[in-house]
Symmetry: C2
Subunit: 215 residues, 2 copies
Amino acid sequence: MVRSAKTKRSSNSSRQIRDPEATQQQILDAAEEEFSKHGLSGARIEAIATRAGVTTAMIHYYFENKEGLYKTVLQRPATECHDVLHELNLENLPPEEALKTLIRAAIAYEAAHPRRGMLWFQEANQNQGKYFKLGNWQETFAYIIKVLERGIAEETFRQLDPFVTCIQIIGICTFYFNAHENIKHITPDVDRLSPEMIEKYTQAAVNLILAGVRA
Amino acid sequence: MVRSAKTKRSSNSSRQIRDPEATQQQILDAAEEEFSKHGLSGARIEAIATRAGVTTAMIHYYFENKEGLYKTVLQRPATECHDVLHELNLENLPPEEALKTLIRAAIAYEAAHPRRGMLWFQEANQNQGKYFKLGNWQETFAYIIKVLERGIAEETFRQLDPFVTCIQIIGICTFYFNAHENIKHITPDVDRLSPEMIEKYTQAAVNLILAGVRA
DNA sequence: GTCTATAATACGATAGAC
DNA sequence: GTCTATCGTATTATAGAC
């Protein structure tokens, strides 16, 4: 079976292949999942190594120690979220359109990275956001807040606290995914992560939020 | 310093006092905090024991092992949440009033138990809700869903998916607290857990949700 | 750059004294 | 009912061969 060295390297078959970038990427992916589940303190280097198909020595070679790996893992979604919002060019859309676009993008991002929300909850509750501070989240939040402020100024949106509303929007867009493994036991017959159900949730979120903020 | 055996027993001063109920309660409180931060696998029995002012042997004596303690910890909020909703007698209020009452109660509960939300996120993501299933959450959710269904039937609320809206409401009411330790770094000058700020958030949540669901 | 082997510590659980 | 002491195992991190 042919396999590009840049793509996935399965755990057992291919050792001793030298591809530093691929190795680091595999470690980061595995670490993101492990840290999401267990946070910094609970994550097991051995588990990350196994999932990535490398040895624990490799992890220490590239990332010094568990904390170094953790910091690197947190950085990726921080910059990604910022870039996603930046590239939406929300400032060129009327407030209602911008808000709709924003909600759709946020939920799509959650659906594409269903584990990442937990990464931040772990960080908040285990480390009091000590490493969260290192990201450029203030700027990322500002994209959302500006849309709301613009809507208030134009009187499309009612008088509301932009920051508080921003938090509420993020809560709506993320809870569905972060709590999914519990929620699925409430309605076991429905696969709420299917594309159809996610689209349904997205539409419902747009409806609730837009009706909720309109003047 | 006089101290009731039923109240808190500080870690270092008072050992060897026999008060089984107080001891169990202290272990449960300490365990709730530890499990909230680290989940089942990441929690340290030693840390729970220290926080509770007992030895690890005591924990094994009362709860058999870590899993037994975990199950007992999860049960408390499950029954409490159900009871809180039950005692609100929502069925006696018109839908809008019921929804308002519900939101206020949910946020007040979160504010009183700011760690418990994480307990469920840990459970969802570490154990896929295996122990969540043991609670009576289906019934608890039903209280909220019934309010929404009643509002739709009376045409006070627009046509919406009651379950999905229920999830959205919980997301709004909980995210603020679960993510607080990260959020506080975005606006470091504001104490968002002060009574005034929590009341402000509550009012904003009522406004958003009621405007969001109205016909 | 990757591996094997191992040192050093941390943790869950139990036995047995009081 | 509570404590001290300890066994066995799991885990992080490093040293050194290839």
